[in-house]
Symmetry: D2
Subunit: 421 residues, 4 copies
Amino acid sequence: MADSAEPTITEIRRDLHAHAETGWKEFRTTALIASELDDEFTLFLGGDAVNPDERLGVPADDEIATAIDRARNEGADEAYLDRMDGITGLVATKEFGDGSGPTVGVRVDIDALERSEASNDDHQPAREGFASQHPNAMHACGHDGHTAIGLGLARAIDGDHGFNGTLKLFFQPAEEGGRGGKPMSKTSHLDDIEYFLSLHLGLGQETGTVVASYDNPLSNAKVDAVFEGEPSHAGDKPNEGRNAVQAMATAIQNLYAIPRHADGATRINIGQVHSPNPQNIIAEEARMRVEVRGETAGLNEYMHGAAQRILKQAAAMHDVDLTTSPYGKTTTFVGDEELIVPVERAAETVDGVDNVIDRYPFGGSEDASYLIQRVQENGGKATYMGIGASNPFGHHTARFDIDEDALQIGVNVLTNIIRSL
Amino acid sequence: MADSAEPTITEIRRDLHAHAETGWKEFRTTALIASELDDEFTLFLGGDAVNPDERLGVPADDEIATAIDRARNEGADEAYLDRMDGITGLVATKEFGDGSGPTVGVRVDIDALERSEASNDDHQPAREGFASQHPNAMHACGHDGHTAIGLGLARAIDGDHGFNGTLKLFFQPAEEGGRGGKPMSKTSHLDDIEYFLSLHLGLGQETGTVVASYDNPLSNAKVDAVFEGEPSHAGDKPNEGRNAVQAMATAIQNLYAIPRHADGATRINIGQVHSPNPQNIIAEEARMRVEVRGETAGLNEYMHGAAQRILKQAAAMHDVDLTTSPYGKTTTFVGDEELIVPVERAAETVDGVDNVIDRYPFGGSEDASYLIQRVQENGGKATYMGIGASNPFGHHTARFDIDEDALQIGVNVLTNIIRSL
Amino acid sequence: MADSAEPTITEIRRDLHAHAETGWKEFRTTALIASELDDEFTLFLGGDAVNPDERLGVPADDEIATAIDRARNEGADEAYLDRMDGITGLVATKEFGDGSGPTVGVRVDIDALERSEASNDDHQPAREGFASQHPNAMHACGHDGHTAIGLGLARAIDGDHGFNGTLKLFFQPAEEGGRGGKPMSKTSHLDDIEYFLSLHLGLGQETGTVVASYDNPLSNAKVDAVFEGEPSHAGDKPNEGRNAVQAMATAIQNLYAIPRHADGATRINIGQVHSPNPQNIIAEEARMRVEVRGETAGLNEYMHGAAQRILKQAAAMHDVDLTTSPYGKTTTFVGDEELIVPVERAAETVDGVDNVIDRYPFGGSEDASYLIQRVQENGGKATYMGIGASNPFGHHTARFDIDEDALQIGVNVLTNIIRSL
Amino acid sequence: MADSAEPTITEIRRDLHAHAETGWKEFRTTALIASELDDEFTLFLGGDAVNPDERLGVPADDEIATAIDRARNEGADEAYLDRMDGITGLVATKEFGDGSGPTVGVRVDIDALERSEASNDDHQPAREGFASQHPNAMHACGHDGHTAIGLGLARAIDGDHGFNGTLKLFFQPAEEGGRGGKPMSKTSHLDDIEYFLSLHLGLGQETGTVVASYDNPLSNAKVDAVFEGEPSHAGDKPNEGRNAVQAMATAIQNLYAIPRHADGATRINIGQVHSPNPQNIIAEEARMRVEVRGETAGLNEYMHGAAQRILKQAAAMHDVDLTTSPYGKTTTFVGDEELIVPVERAAETVDGVDNVIDRYPFGGSEDASYLIQRVQENGGKATYMGIGASNPFGHHTARFDIDEDALQIGVNVLTNIIRSL
């Protein structure tokens, strides 16, 4: 039978892991999801799944083209690539049973991080041969598992066994950096959602633990800054340059020194710092990425405003030009009590679940926040759940991995919740 | 005639320009020089031309391997590549006439810069089709012309017409960054040099001008610094990271602020600033290249010592590790009056030369300084000459070019000098 | 009757306000308290009230001597000045009734701030003629009112009317900067305290509001830093100096940039920045005061450790010497529920009290923390109460004032509580 | 005889040393000079000696008043204090012989530095009892000796013995900081000067050495900067302050990092750094003094412009206000060959002079530059001479002193020169 060849969700996860694709480049991933669901679900791909005009932090055209080529070479179906038309992400919808039940949305994110993966033998993906084959791309945050759970759920839900409503699966691209959540929220797919479930594997919880509601992620704004000055020979004409590196260093020192805020936690960090000038030339260009966060949207705005002022004046101080552009953004949320109670009840009955936590602070940032906000604005109920997955190394590190037992637990928890709604 | 196929020195210069190779990667260039001279001169290649243990700022092995492959693909003779054995540079020697005359050394540098070239039509190399075909490599300092002049001199000198001594041609690799001069000086080739000529095209002088002695280049030291900290998630665990970017920014701010010195000019600059961490991770690594200069070797040491102290303490301040390594170094010189007078006399009689300057301050830095120092220590006389070459854009910029009329002038000036010695 | 001449607590407050004395200089204040209480209470002055060896941030001997002289000139009783022997502060104890009741401690602080006071007519103390007569000293935090309440309480408590225990009044010096709390806690006076009450006026609460327990003040550490370098003439010998100002500026920039902490709020600030060198001399000395805080003692230690590291490396970076010394320190506390409930009950019945809050976060820092900690370690119950006092301008500003109606409310609340215990 | 009581120039120097007065406060000094010269010379005091509107860096009115009171208390003649009317400095003129000779100007500066003096016994002024009696004022640059030489010259020059011209003595106030030279140059006293002599003791030259012309002092500009922000409590409201100390530290770091200039020496330094806020209040005010120098007036302008830009943007970066004001300024000069030759000749014949240097670079800055510039613009000849004076400790240090043997040498050299003109 054809089904005999159907990969398990663990196999799917490993396939995705081996072919990690970073934000807005998840062409093979999207095509794989599409081919899994096409028989049963109505599919919305690319620009039909996300609002193209709202995308943030989109890579350059040639990078996108290279990513499409790679996906094609690695087996992505040309028909799906055509339908995507350069934009990743997918929404899949299906009515089950008599359709009298609620409309339930489930969101999983599908992108990898820009980093390389450990190759040592005590790292399971390396040992078992499914470490990322793509340079500078690694599923180091578990989104490969999220995607596999989403596909497992699609297989598991079945109208005959208790769910008579409509299921909408949101396979969101570009979560890293907070780039894909907002554009996916700016579509009509969320308008009729009554219950909205999103989830994350791991986050420090062991396999067997379920968190019914991660609350209060930090709001987040990411800004790219480019300093452009004037080159000159550092030996002959040191005074004739306009030094982009000096401006950048001044900005960095002062960005980290933005005053703490009385109203709550704030964050600031800088990455992707680059200035290519040889050391004998005054730097004509320097670029970096700035990230601010706040416990509330207001605190995030406080940090964002201060960062913009510092960037601007650091540039002016060294007589260089500054260009800033938004790279990504997230907001915050609190799970709805009306949904959390059913989640707890459903989780408790799942085999392998031995610890159910009602609410837990999120800590980081998450652009599911935009989807949750949209659902809640429309009167729907939403939560962001945690599925424990033991792993000794932290998220985003080279040796991050997930306990694959958590995948089926995740599928079962979701299935149980949805059937109970 | 057979000679009809021999390329002109302008054609050689254009060929080198189109196949620009940066420091320690000049495999095609060295092979081309070797094939030009092999019939007439005794050749010393690679490790026989430079002292391998004294090399500074050598690229990683895989970069060298890639450069050799490219040279092979672009026509470099396999026999010469074999003899180089991974090290570029060449010394060519020949005795002329009865050998009773002096031993004369002529040094030209052969490397390109790490930068891309302008592609607009008002840039002659682009318009005429000989712009660099190699990404991030460009002859933006005229060393292509220097090499061509060296080869033109080899053709022009002829024992029947006045020179009865020994000519040693030093085709020095990796001048940019001051990486090849010292290792070439640490060989025995310079031991018996009585007169030593080195030269540079351009340097702000128009075609027709000859400077008999550029004096007092700034001493220079280049240091690579790597800051290594500890990554952590900037939202969840901002305090657990050890931030390499903060350390680097602190270093940069304080490096530029090293006190000026009462005894003369000093310089400081920073380039190649890179930290690859995504903006949501505290930076675990940051690297940069530092360059200091001083009007004297002592002033250079003052700057070098202060820079090392600042780097070290900036790292310690942010609890990150620091590794520094030398990248390049130059010293200073003053031309010998005994050689400058003959240079002036010889230059004045060359067709096209309308302005001879005796001495001029050099301004920048130059690792011919090590060869000159070695010659002078052994009792030889040396000078560093300028051959004017009109060009509207500055050295090291994307639109740098040289007036090709200066090439033949350079050959003729050298030839005249050598015959007069 | 003699009592007809007894000043009201408002008059006492105004007298203290007019003669504001900063930390460790409260000689006139201590003498005034002593003379008020001497008939009824047993008095412990100076080194008998605080542990001399534990004092922090003590001014220089000549400043102390000047302060004593001023107190003498302004009417402080010579006998009390003698007993103080250069150290301020006072503990007053008295047994009431049959002594069968509990031992209750009440702590008020008595020092002023180092700042000048507004002189405009819309500032009540200026208009009514009781603004501070002392340059650079002002009761801008309400401790004059605290002292007056303490004295009012001493008058009000009376064994015939319900209190049969022992009352210990702690008039603590040098609260500003967190310098007097620890040395007062390191005496035996607190050993037998069963209930401990401390209080603050204002803190943003209107007159009529009582806060039963201010909780979780920030732990705080203050460090004085002196950078000592080498002077040299900035024109002739800029390289020969070792620049204390450069070191200090580097430290300041990096201190404000200490990473935020995942576990809670932290603070950093710098004041009293001074470098006296003329602008044509490289600075040989620079000094400043650093303050760190943390929501917990652990967070405070995190900040303190980071600050010490930054100070040290900033000095080393510029080759200058660093001396640091502790200036003040506070810890944190949470009020005991067993005491808070009686406080609430007692406060509710006081005339003029219309709003009783059980617990409120403290926000700032407070060295009553050491006394509270000591009481709680010994099994006693403690709280830090708020007595609302309307005032339009913030604490520590030039126009700070308190609504004097709050003074009697404070006395009545304390009296009610103590009688109820 | 009355003359038996006349103090020697060494005694005058010691009297001035003991009563050191800093710039624009030289009331006792000016009165002493006036009383010495009144019988023989026509005197122009205060606003008749300097242009009041051109004064820079004038202390506050109350400081001036205090200085006048002190001068009065220390014996300054009331009549001269009246004539000064709050402004120091003096020009004394006299025609000698038949007046047929040239008009010669001699300028000496009269002010002390703002610093305290060493009190140890190996410091001669302390040991001999003539160390400065004024706190924070010390003749640490030898201007006491300059003034004494000026007065000695007045005594020595005598029409019967060879000088038949007009002598104008310029006793210039406020040289430190470059505040008095410009206003003295903006008067008509210099209009008819044919020969202009100015001088400095010491400067590293031993007693017996005379430098005929110190050339090329650095141009200099001094700027006072005040940053004004908004205070707030550093614990409660860290985000509500606008931090003047952060702005100042950012400025300091970047000021020292102004790029070196290809055209010659530049200098930057910062002094008088003060922010009075207690460490628990975000700093509302910070002030400092900035000094820049350049080998040429153009280089000085380059530094001045860069400093102003950095100050402005550092303030804007931290949202604080900036006020800058000029404090002092000097320009540069080269001595006239026509005067230097006679100076050399005259110096060689003086007893005790054993080494005459024609020209020497000045190194520091000097506001005699404005007077020299004015003389040279009018066609006069000028020089700035050095009179060697052995002293083991550097100018401006606490232990600076001068070999008093140099005083008479200075008088004799000047006298010889003037007679020879």
